[in-house]
């Protein structure tokens, strides 16, 4: 079997997306939730590489991926800061114990 690189990257992106989604659904720890978000973002980057390769516009794809990496790191930083604050106020990182808001 000889899969072209585009297919490998594209399928890889979709599978990584599935893994990240699974993580979001089962994970209870706030920091691990951020790990799952990071995996999802990696899937998006991989999808852009596949798309750029397929269209032979790797320069364009690269510039977009670079911006995604930066934006995503900023989001991860803010999410981790939130997690640290949650730990301070709730005494736990368990998402299921964040139950102040219902209804």
């Amino acid at each position: 079997m000889n899969l072209p690189p585009v297919a490998i990257a594209w399928f890889g992106a979709m599978i990584l997306f599935g893994v990240g989604l699974y993580g979001l659904l089962v994970v209870r720890n706030l920091i691990k939730l951020v790990v799952a978000l990071q995996i999802l973002a990696k899937a998006a980057m991989l999808a852009f590489v596949a798309a750029g390769y397929a269209q032979q516009q790797m320069g364009l794809a690269q510039s977009m991926i670079a911006l995604i990496i930066v934006a995503d790191t900023v989001v991860a930083v803010i999410a981790l800061a939130l997690a640290v604050q949650v730990r301070r106020r709730y005494g736990t990182l368990d998402v299921r114990q964040l139950t102040a808001l219902r209804g």
């Binding site: 594209w10 992106a13 997306f17 990240g20 979001l24 706030l30 939730l33 978000l37 999802l40 973002a41 899937a43 998006a44 999808a47 852009f48 596949a50 798309a51 750029g52 397929a54 269209q55 516009q57 364009l60 794809a61 977009m64 911006l67 995604i68 934006a71 900023v74 989001v75 803010i78 999410a79 939130l82 997690a83 604050q85 949650v86 106020r89 709730y90 998402v95 964040l98 139950t99 102040a100 808001l101 209804g103």
Partner: protein, 492 residues
């Protein structure tokens, strides 16, 4: 490069955001407040110039490298709402946020958010649109969780951040699919529909739909809108979810082929039904004022999506114009409602040094101590319910008329359904007004503090606008008409 005036519209808020922060650190929060207000005031000038330029030209374009910024009717509408409501929220926040730790960061992030929203309206490139969208989200995370020593507000922040981040990844996958299929990123070009583009459309609908609070992607909204500081609640409900909706409607254009526009319209109509039903039914159950208003936002997104859906489904301009008008009036009314509720929350709780949710019972007899705030809150919620002399009636009416004009049985049924929903919404708005005008004041009202003039001023301005637009809706035809035309032009 020629710097067109409309660039200043984006540059001034964005450039002043770090300045406000620095000024606040060096010179104290009073300097930060003053500078933030000055920046918003200055941004008004390019807005007026751009609006005048737009009379003679349909779009103003600036290109930087291969990416363009296009300022059209829709950008103008979004800029007017973002800047107008942003200015009101900032003035309101001066007494409301006074003495909070990190005030300068509050104003800096708020300015940044306004700038990003205006920029989002101008994006003419799919990826550029995402960058604006993500920047808007990043600037709002801290604002939602601003009361970082309150567990409830942290929880709202976590929910908001996680769901927004997932939405943003879905949008990215959608963009990657469009890029991989067509090799182009520009908005407004025609394509033939393929399964890849269909998947891209679905991904972007879900991704932007999280921010636009399309049911069932709305679960973050009531928490975030209720827990944020009141000025931010007004911005989130009045502008940010609408910006998400506009982003969706714009981003979907490169995906829509000749026949798929109608199918996308049907999908929007489905979301409209879900949003109206769930928003209004859940709002009925709420006892906290801000939570109720947050749920009512879901219903109002439903009305807007109904108009846009009808426009996509039949190509009717009138329905889209009605939705644009509703976007404007909802921004005014919901902003006014959140700010009025915030004024009462401040007077009854925050000024007394206590933190508590403002419940409907707390409002009992508020009109006796706070006649003006009670009046503005009544104007806001009655406008939202769609009572005749107010703006909400006129904008809903335009959507309904636009829907019926298309002469499609499905749309007629949906319009009747929406009208019934509008009547149903009175069931939770009316008790609110009723409570305000009760004879016996609640305990909270008896111990309430005074509301300062800086809080009243934006309330008076917004309620005057709600009344004026209700009596004279043609006043903003020049705003909603070009906006609807700009949107539909992208779908051709």
């Amino acid at each position: 490069m020629v710097v067109h005036p409309f660039l200043w519209l984006i540059l001034i808020p964005l450039a002043s955001a770090p300045l406000v922060y620095l000024a606040g650190r060096l010179g104290g929060s009073a300097v930060a407040r003053g500078l933030a207000l000055l920046a918003l005031l200055l941004t008004g000038a390019p807005l007026i110039i751009t609006a005048q330029d737009l009379i003679s030209q349909a779009t103003l374009t600036v290109a930087l490298g291969m990416v363009q910024l296009k300022f059209d009717g829709l950008s103008l509408l979004l800029a007017v709402v973002a800047l107008g409501l942003g200015a009101c929220a900032s003035v309101f926040s001066i007494p409301y946020m006074a003495g909070e730790l990190g005030e300068e960061k509050y104003y800096a992030a708020l300015l940044g958010m306004i700038g990003f929203i205006i920029g989002l309206g101008c994006a003419a490139d799919l990826f550029n649109l995402w960058v604006w969208f993500e920047a808007m989200a990043v600037s709002s995370y801290m604002l939602v969780a601003f009361y970082r020593d309150q567990p409830a507000s942290l929880e709202a922040g976590v929910k908001y951040l996680v769901q927004s981040a997932v939405g943003s990844v879905l949008v990215l996958l959608g963009i990657a699919a469009v890029f991989g299929e067509t090799g182009r990123l520009t908005l407004n070009h025609t394509t033939t529909a393929t399964t890849g583009l269909l998947a891209a459309g679905a991904l972007m609908t879900v991704g932007f739909g999280v921010k636009a609070a399309l049911v069932p992607l709305h679960t973050w909204l009531p928490d975030a809108h209720a827990q944020a500081p009141s000025g931010i609640s007004a911005m989130l409900s009045g502008v940010v979810i609408e910006a998400g909706l506009i982003a969706l409607l714009r981003a979907i254009s490169p995906v829509l082929g000749e026949d798929s526009t109608a199918r996308f319209g049907q999908l929007l109509l489905l979301f409209a039904v879900l949003n109206m039903t769930l928003g209004n039914v859940l709002a009925l159950k709420q006892t906290q004022v801000k939570r109720m208003l947050a749920f009512s936002s879901l219903g109002h997104v439903g009305y807007m999506v109904l108009g846009f859906g009808a426009a996509a489904y039949t190509g009717q301009l009138a329905a889209a114009q009605g939705s644009m008008f509703h976007l404007l009036t909802h921004g005014l009314m919901k902003g006014l409602a959140f700010l009025s509720a915030g004024a009462l929350l401040y007077a009854l709780y925050v000024a007394n040094g206590t933190h508590g949710p403002l419940t409907v019972q707390d409002l009992n007899g508020a009109s006796q101590r706070y006649p003006l705030v009670a009046l503005t809150l009544s104007v806001a919620v009655l406008g939202l319910a769609g009572l005749p002399p107010l703006a909400g009636f006129m904008s809903k009416w335009q959507i309904f008329v636009g829907g019926v004009q298309a002469d499609d049985p499905l749309l007629v049924v949906l319009v009747v359904f929406a009208a019934l929903n509008s009547v149903l919404s009175l069931a939770y708005y009316a008790p609110l007004v009723n409570a305000l005008y009760r004879r016996v004041p609640s305990e909270a009202v008896q111990h309430g503090k005074a509301v300062s003039w800086a809080m009243m001023a934006p309330l008076v301005i917004l309620s005057a606008l709600v009344v004026v637009l209700g009596v004279w809706p043609a006043l903003v035809d020049g705003l909603s008409g070009p906006a609807a035309r700009a949107l539909l032009a992208g779908w051709q």
